[in-house]
Amino acid sequence: MIDMSEEKKYCLTQARALVENLEQGNDSEVNSLIESIAKFHESALFQEVGKLTRQLHETLNNFHVDSRVEVLTKNEIPDAKERLNYVIKITEDSANRTLNAVEAGLPIAEELKDKSNILNKKWQRFRQREMPVEEFRELSNEIDNYLSWSVIQSEKVRENFSNILMAQDFQDLTGQVIRRVINLVQEMEGNLIDLVRVSGQRMKKEPQAENSGSNSKADGPRIPGCDSHKDRLSNQDDVDELLSSLGF
């Protein structure tokens, strides 16, 4: 590798000789000087290219012999896809379990409320001495039925709450799975950065936007910390405001 300052000295010497010969009109000297300067630069360039090529070749070779990369490609990346599918599946299952419990529980809660109201009105009339004896006998039976009915119903409500509680277990399970995938992605990121650096390209700041036919790209749920929420509205109120400003 030719030392830069030596190169500069050489160029300066040649340049001075070139100017002198031009001033003196020595055409053949001028031509041969220009040729030798060009050749000098050519060889420096060749050496640089050669060096980079060797570096790239070595890194690519390392990639091949690095069994970690092979394991990543053959096992862990397909594995990661499975894991993420699993996350989708159990979050869906959990949501369904919760919704099932809510759908079972809400009608019970409403019936409890309605029956209690009706019974309470009658009971208050009794308390204010506005109820004849026969009606009270009837009321007595109704209260009896209500009590045994509500014992059963309230147990159902408790059970549904318990199911909702258990349905929250998805967070722990998916959290563990996602952590593993994050580690995998970080490892791949490291490998790719090395590769890009060696091949000499500079990393582009913004990814090129793909022309997908519509002007807006689907982003998925808002994830704090991701750039994707630059254009996103933060809540339902904001969305409603925007819609109404558009005339909805």
């Binding site: 509680l165 258990m166 563990q176």
Partner: protein, 129 residues
């Protein structure tokens, strides 16, 4: 097994601690404490007289399996009943946990009924000794 027994729940995911705490409350056990790692759990166990330990396996500082080993190695804690509640289900892990001295092993995801069953079993066995 008395309903006032002091229980320590150890898991690095707070939602899981909350679920187990609520299940214990459901079963009548209101005297529960929590720790988010084996590392923070050990001094808590050493400081107060706990009657029961429920722990996860995967935790960043000290893992559940190592917490169990440390508990069994400490003469003041060696007899503490321990239930492991974890997503880890490989045969060799279950064996390792058993050899380390757990009293019960519940695999996630689990149901309230299973948790109750395993806890009852642990204390039944201890009482018949």
């Amino acid at each position: 097994m008395n309903k006032d027994m002091k229980i320590l729940i150890v898991d690095d995911f707070s939602t899981m601690r909350r679920i187990i705490k609520n299940l214990m409350r459901d079963l009548g056990f209101n005297n529960t404490s929590e720790a988010d790692d084996g590392k923070t759990a050990l001094p808590i166990l050493q400081a107060g007289d706990f009657d029961f330990l429920i722990t996860d396996w995967n935790m960043p500082g000290i893992a559940g399996i190592d917490l169990i080993k440390a508990v069994r190695a400490d003469p003041r804690l060696a007899k503490l009943p321990i239930l492991m509640v974890t997503a880890e289900a490989k045969r060799e892990q279950i064996v390792e946990a058993a050899q380390a001295g757990v009293n019960g092993y519940v695999v996630k995801p689990f149901t309230a009924a299973i948790l109750k069953e395993k806890i009852d079993k642990i204390f039944e066995r201890l009482e018949t000794k």
